[in-house]
């Protein structure tokens, strides 16, 4: 196990020493961390390299990679930079209540693109990187599902 690169929220973190994990309900990832003095219930979800751990009520992303997987992941990230147009998708299902940009607009990173109302809240969708809007796929009043394409940036 020592040859794994373990990261928590993107930062390398050495796993706690002296603790072990016992499963209560492996199908749902329900387990307990124990060190002989304390017991902490957790949820362990994921597979392969990507994991989510719920501890003290908080759900935290973690990755567990062999060094080979680490190098491959870094190479893939590097290749993605400046790789042409990107699609901005809905992260939540909801109703489009405002569209702030049109085709041809130049936007900066973080600029508001449109507003989706979901669960009584208005959620602003912002530009993930600078670029020019080349397509707007939705209009005010349209209901979108999670993952639906909203617009494209180049």
């Amino acid at each position: 196990m020592t040859d794994y690169d373990v990261r928590v929220d993107g930062e390398p973190v050495p796993p706690a020493a002296g603790w072990q994990l016992d499963w209560d309900d492996p199908a749902r990832g329900v387990a307990r961390l124990r060190n002989g003095a304390r017991t902490i219930p957790v949820v362990v979800e994921g597979g392969g390299t990507d994991w989510h751990i719920v501890i003290h009520g908080r759900r935290v992303a973690a990755s567990v990679r062999t060094w080979r997987e680490r190098l491959l992941a870094e190479a893939a990230t590097a290749a993605q930079v400046d790789a042409g147009p990107i699609t901005v998708s809905a992260t939540l299902p909801g109703l489009v209540v405002a569209v702030a940009v049109g085709v041809g607009d130049e936007v900066e990173e973080g600029a508001p693109l449109l507003t989706i109302e979901a669960m009584k809240m208005q959620n602003e969708v912002r530009a993930p990187r600078p670029g020019r809007v080349i397509e707007v796929s939705v209009a005010v009043g349209v209901t979108v599902a999670t993952g639906a394409s909203l617009l494209r940036l180049e």
Partner: protein
């Protein structure tokens, strides 16, 4: 069949015009009263727990609430089809809709709630503010008429101010304004939001009371003039003007203040022909002065806190007074016992401004044991319905005093495990150890002033790393894997893991 042999059930069948945990709460009250509960469901909820628990469930439309749970015709038709004699609206949806209450009564059915005229009179928050002031109840300084383009009245109040929707509630159409220069833009935004949410863009303004606590008084009235004041609830832990935690009694209320609050609540109820259940909300400033905010003419989400300290079943009494029963002397003069706290488990990310989260719930383990009550409609391995309220569960505790209740809450939260998506459980677990909350000396600024974005992971980071590594070691599947393979692989994995350990 009725389990009660001492009384005749107030109704034969009752239709519950709601979903989720509150529909289940009403179904439970029906069962105990010997009433046959009828549920309604949208297509999204055909297999939902509330629909399965009822004696019968009627489809009322497609998933969007506007076409199902908010459809007056569909709900009343369902009641007629099933022979229901009464309709309980729960909270939200149609619960404070006077048009609905009138339609229910016109259809020859009993509406479980205050009379339509009361819903109407108090539904307009601006009109209610005027009536309360006329009845001698202190109101938050501000306007008692709609805010028009002339904004001089606002400047006279002094900033910051709060813009509020006359038709509002639940924080929608509400905007804090810190500077005169921001007022026009904020007013336009508040109008837009209020028009979209309520079809009425009327806005009024209140001076910001800060620091403040949000304290509310529970009322229960019968049709014969009996009015019970069932203690107060402190709802000062809020985000976006929406409640996250409620407790009773309020740690900020001494006996003279309590009697003043109760007197004001009675006065507000006295402005209308009130019966059934309602809550009068107040702000309390640092000097113990209280100001009327609004009266909610329905069952509140947090009603369970009051049930725990009074021992009174509010939902059962709503049904009984609607059938014409009188409140008993034990309800009219309740004995308050101990301290109760409720926390709301929401599908929200407290580390990202309490934004709603989406996904599929995997593990869903709720606490139990002495003094613990959980009201929920959520089940493990279920999709979160983004069309509806993101409330996953209400966790309530009751103990002899506040420190014991806080200790019990800490224990209960440590037993709580929700997988699949981020929830506010991490915030709530932090809260029970927060100095201000633990001492009781907190106000509505707690989330903004003390939580901020949440504390760093600290020593939990190394435990997360260990758990993730152990997870990879035994290759736990994702919570969303197909149900068929899950049970099989669970046993296989357990065997493999046991083998590894030996």
């Amino acid at each position: 069949m009725s389990l009660r042999t001492d009384t005749v059930p107030p109704f034969g069948r009752l239709l519950v015009a709601n979903r989720g945990e509150i529909a289940i709460r009403v179904i439970r009250a029906c069962r105990e009263l010997g009433i046959s509960p009828i549920a309604v469901h949208s297509d999204a909820d055909a297999d939902a727990l509330h629909a399965r628990m009822a004696d019968r469930s009627e489809r009322i439309g497609p998933p969007p609430a506007g076409e199902s749970y908010l459809s007056i015709d569909a709900v009343i038709e369902a009641a007629h089809r099933t022979g229901a004699e009464a309709i309980h609206p729960g909270y939200g949806f149609l619960s404070e809709n006077a048009t609905f209450a009138r339609a229910v009564e016109a259809a020859g059915l009993a509406f479980i709630g205050p009379p339509p005229a009361v819903l109407e009179a108090l539904g307009n928050k601006l009109a209610a503010r005027r009536s309360a002031a006329d009845a001698g109840v202190p109101i938050v300084p501000g306007t008692t008429v709609a805010l028009e383009e002339d904004l001089a009245a606002v400047d006279a109040l002094g900033f910051p101010v709060l813009l509020k929707a006359a038709a509002g509630g639940g924080g929608r159409g509400m905007r804090r304004v810190d500077r005169a220069g921001d007022l026009a833009a904020a007013l336009a935004a508040a109008r837009r939001e209020a028009t979209a949410a309520f079809g009425d863009g009327t806005i009024y303004v209140e001076r910001m009371v800060s620091p403040a606590r949000h304290v509310e008084v529970q009322l229960l009235g019968d049709r014969h003039g009996g009015l019970a004041v069932l203690g107060e609830r402190d709802c000062s832990v809020q985000r976006r003007h929406q409640k996250l935690v409620e407790e009773s009694p309020s740690p900020a209320v001494d006996e003279p203040t309590r009697q003043a609050l109760f007197d004001s609540a009675r006065r507000v109820a006295g402005t209308v022909e009130f019966h059934n259940a309602a809550t009068v909300e107040f702000l309390l400033d640092a000097d113990g002065n209280h100001y009327f905010l609004e009266m909610n003419t329905r069952l509140q989400v947090e009603h369970g806190v009051t049930e725990l300290v009074t021992g009174i079943d509010l939902v059962a009494w709503q049904i009984r007074v609607a059938a014409g029963e009188r409140l008993t002397s034990s309800v009219l003069a309740p004995t308050l016992r101990g301290h109760a706290i409720e926390v709301r488990l929401y599908a929200e990310d407290p580390y990202d401004g309490f934004r709603p989260t989406a996904g599929r719930i995997g593990a869903f383990l709720m606490p139990a044991g002495p003094g613990v009550r959980v009201d929920t409609g959520t089940e493990p391995d279920s999709d979160l319905r983004s069309e509806y309220d993101p409330l996953l569960a209400k966790l309530m505790v009751h103990a002899d005093d506040r420190p014991a209740a806080v200790a019990r809450l800490r224990r209960a939260l440590d037993e709580t495990l929700i997988g699949g998506l981020q929830t506010d459980a991490g915030f709530l677990r932090w809260l029970v150890d927060d100095e201000a909350f633990a001492s009781g000396a907190y106000d509505t600024g707690l989330v903004a002033d003390r939580w901020r974005g949440g504390p760093p992971l600290g020593e939990d980071a190394a435990l997360v790393a260990l758990a993730a590594q152990a997870g990879r070691g035994v290759s736990v599947p994702v919570a969303t894997s197909a149900a068929g393979t899950r049970a099989e692989s669970a046993w296989g994995r357990r065997a493999r893991q046991d083998g590894l350990r030996r």
